[in-house]
Symmetry: C2
Subunit: 152 residues, 2 copies
């Protein structure tokens, strides 16, 4: 069986998971350090989803780290399928949250400038960008694992 770079149990996958954890945490922090986030539904949604993505990515990063250290990657189709589906669902939810946040920030900036102090709004915007990056990495993980799946 050939090794797919980026699939479960490789060092590339470990980097992807660490990246996901970092970007999601950054998104959560930039959003929740502002005290007004709970007055907008989209921002609450982003915080909820990021609270799901961080433990998922972090635990898979641990699994990848162990696999790389022990040189013994997990190769059960069932587990891989769960990971592919989980990644895919979480990446869809992350994309939805990032788009909602971005559009709300855009609306707050463009038409209701007085509702949003520039400092808070730029923080919300950074949070949305971080969520998009986390979506991208999560999608990459899902695709690499999906690529590996038929060869098992």
């Amino acid at each position: 069986m050939d090794e797919v770079p980026g699939s479960l149990g490789t060092s590339a996958s470990f980097s992807l998971r660490i990246g996901q954890t970092m970007f999601s945490s950054a998104s959560l922090l930039f959003m929740s350090l502002g005290v007004e986030f709970y007055s907008y539904t989209a921002f609450c949604y982003l915080v909820t989803i990021m609270g799901l993505v961080i433990p998922w990515s972090f635990s898979l990063a641990l699994v990848d780290g162990y696999s790389v250290l022990l040189k013994c990657p997990i190769r059960q189709p069932g587990i891989l399928l769960i990971i592919v589906v989980g990644d895919w669902v979480l990446s869809t939810l992350t994309l939805a949250a990032a788009c909602s946040t971005a559009s709300v920030v855009d609306l707050l900036l463009s038409t209701h400038g007085s509702f949003c102090p520039p400092k808070l709004c730029s923080r919300y915007r950074i949070s949305a960008i971080m969520a998009f990056l986390s979506w991208f990495l999560s999608l990459a993980s899902s695709l690499f694992n999906l690529w590996l799946l038929p060869s098992l």
Copy 2:
């Protein structure tokens, strides 16, 4: 080769494509019959994406219709791959547009009631729901074709 229901050239796929075309057209009409949509970025984005989805789904509906009538489904892996990727990209864009629209409508309704007459806002909301339905059908098409792809 076994037939996957919902894959290219079957009557189930034809129904899916017709559903996508109908929901996207409904979403576009509900949005663009209101004259104020171009003042919000998210609404313009939805109109743009729906303008892409409608011709794509409609032309694939025509292809499916011909295949069903002539009983001669297309089975070239290259064409199928293009359709899977195209469906997937368009469904991602549709999801992004639907989420953005939904969050903007929610924001307009909840905090700035005066900016949005109830009649217009309910129309925007129906447009977002139609976009979500179109996303769902588009995703189903993409998954059915992806399922068929390895067997070719």
